[in-house]
Amino acid sequence: MTGQKLRELICSVLQIDGSGLKDGDIDQSKLRVWDSLRHLRLIVALEKETQKKFTAKQIAQMVSYHTIAQEVGATRS
């Protein structure tokens, strides 16, 4: 999965316009709409997209673009 596709998926699930956001801004602590319910939806969408199953510990850590990219192995381009 590319970084761009990951961004699009996160923004789509969180229902945010990501055009003005840097990667570092896509962070649970900075986005009010990223609540626990949307987080669950995001994990479900990521699992569907990547065909991976995340552990409970991974899910707890996937709270920003960077940590998610690390877990799903997103590429830069």
């Binding site: 649970q28 609540d35 626990s36 552990t55 409970a56 510990k57």
Partner: protein, 495 residues
């Protein structure tokens, strides 16, 4: 003053009295308060309330924190009416609550640029804002809480609860779940919701037990870590959280050492599959319950004796009277489907400045809940649907009318019809259909952004679909049944 005159003050004083013991734990910020420390924090805020012109209405725009806990209880102790507004729901919700509630003060963690802060207020982590409300009508005597909810009748309204309502509500949770001093709750829900406030603050005081207040975004892993670390004996959550505990399951290693003896579920119907998966994996029972804001929380609960539970039912009435009533207001027999009506000391005073809705909700001392159910011969109630247009997401009521009203504020929208679908982990999803005005254009993104500016995140529709014409019924109203059918078709195609 006698305790019967001021039952919440009595509850606070007795609930926090006695030898020093741990009462409130905030694990993320690593704060642990004993009963004496909490009393001290409450006392400081009570002094402030008395010194500073004594506000009678206070909005608390505070997250889960020692400040929230102490302001809430200080206001209760001093007889001020509190209106909690979750800061996570944004400024628009706060402004709407302030316009309706007309508070004297707003206490907030975050800066509120549209108000002036009180100078030299001796508080560290929060700011007090003075508000000068326009003329307002009085509250019923003894009103202690105004909580905004979509209620039982469809539009967001301020539910007014008295000291007596709340004090009585606080008795029902320990009674139903046999909670004693040695118990400790893991309180996952926001404390600005009635479930969080009554079940994990007031019932904790009533049982002289303690609570761990889950701060920040919920994950099942973090919840169990804190439950183990701080020795929780029960968990208060809604179905979406139990679904998260099952997807994925925590490993044996990740849950070793816990002392949780039961979990309590409320807020919306717990899918039987989730209950069974959770119980099979974790070997911890989930007790299904039901409560309303209008009843100061819990009114039905399944028994703690597991072989007496009825899976899929919200349980039997606890501490209240309940009956099933037909649309002709006649009491129905066991097995017949109708609306649940409730009577008891916890039934609310009425809606803020809304005598019409109050009259619709209260009939001859009974609360019309808007929930449809059947009662079995052994007294268990099983929900079958709702009468009014409300969906429940993550345990919170969302008014479809409110979403439609918001969409119709957009200059390009002629008509809007929103429906709820049983869908995902957090309960029902909202799908909105809109019809544009002639010669006007608007896209889904623009309409979602319009809603996001005006509604809290949990109220946003998951999808907005533009239709050339909305289907109408013969009376000219939008045909929601047809929209629901269309939404289900779209959903099936998407799958």
């Amino acid at each position: 003053m006698a305790s019967s005159d001021h039952p919440l003050l009595h509850l606070i004083e007795t609930g926090l009295s006695g030898p020093s013991r741990l009462t409130a734990i905030f694990p993320r910020t690593k704060v642990a308060l004993t009963n004496h420390e909490l009393l001290d924090l409450i006392g400081k805020r009570r002094c402030l309330l008395k010194e500073k012109s004594f506000p009678t209405r206070v909005i608390l725009h505070l997250g889960k924190s020692p400040e929230y806990l102490s302001w809430l209880l200080a206001c209760f102790a001093e007889g001020a009416c509190v209106c909690p507004v979750d800061p996570g729901h944004g400024e628009a919700e706060l402004k709407r609550a302030a316009a309706a509630f007309k508070p004297d003060w707003i206490v907030a963690h975050h800066p509120l640029p549209f108000l002036d802060p009180m100078p030299n207020a001796p508080v560290k982590n929060e700011t007090i804002y003075r508000n000068s409300p326009e003329a307002r009508s009085g509250l019923p005597p003894g009103t202690a809480l105004c909580m905004f909810t979509s209620g039982t009748t469809g539009r967001a309204k301020g539910v007014l609860l008295s000291e007596n309502n709340l004090a009585y509500g606080s008795e029902l949770v320990p009674l139903a779940h046999q909670i004693a001093e040695q118990d400790r709750a893991l309180a996952i829900l926001p404390l600005s919701m009635i479930n969080g406030m009554v079940t994990t603050i007031l019932a904790i005081l009533r049982s002289r037990s303690s609570a761990i207040y889950y701060e920040g975004m919920f994950t099942a892993y973090q919840a169990f870590q804190w439950a183990i670390e701080h020795q929780a004996t029960w968990i208060n959550a809604v179905p979406v959280h139990y679904a998260a505990f099952c997807n994925p399951f925590l490993s044996t290693e990740e849950r070793t050492g816990h002392r949780v003896r039961f979990c309590r579920s409320a807020g919306s119907r717990l899918p039987v599959q989730v209950l069974q998966d959770f119980e099979n994996h974790y070997k911890i029972p989930i007790i299904e319950t039901m409560g309303l804001t209008e009843t100061a929380g819990q009114v039905f609960a399944n028994p703690m004796e597991l072989d007496e539970r009825k899976i899929g039912s919200v349980g039997r009435p606890v501490g209240i009277e309940a009956k099933i009533v037909s649309s002709a207001f006649e009491e129905l027999s066991d097995g017949e489907e109708g609306e649940i009506w409730i009577r008891g000391e916890n039934v609310f005073l009425g809606y803020l400045d809304d005598p019409t809705s109050t009259a619709q909700a209260l009939h001859d001392g009974w609360l019309r809940t808007g929930d449809r159910a059947r009662r079995s011969v052994d007294g268990f109630f099983t929900l079958t649907g709702r009468i009014k247009e409300i969906v429940i997401r993550g345990g919170q009521n969302v008014s479809l009318q409110e979403i439609d009203d918001t969409l119709c504020q957009h200059p390009a929208i002629a008509l809007s019809g929103s429906v709820g679908l049983d869908a995902d982990l957090d309960g029902e999803t909202v799908v909105s259909f809109v019809q544009l005005k002639l010669d006007r254009k608007a896209g889904e993104k623009e309409l979602l952004a319009h809603c996001a500016e005006r509604l809290a995140a949990f109220k946003l529709p998951s999808q907005i679909t533009l239709l050339e014409k909305l289907p109408l019924r013969s009376n000219g109203k939008v045909d929601k049944q047809e929209l629901k059918r269309m939404a289900n078709c779209f959903k099936e195609k998407a799958l």
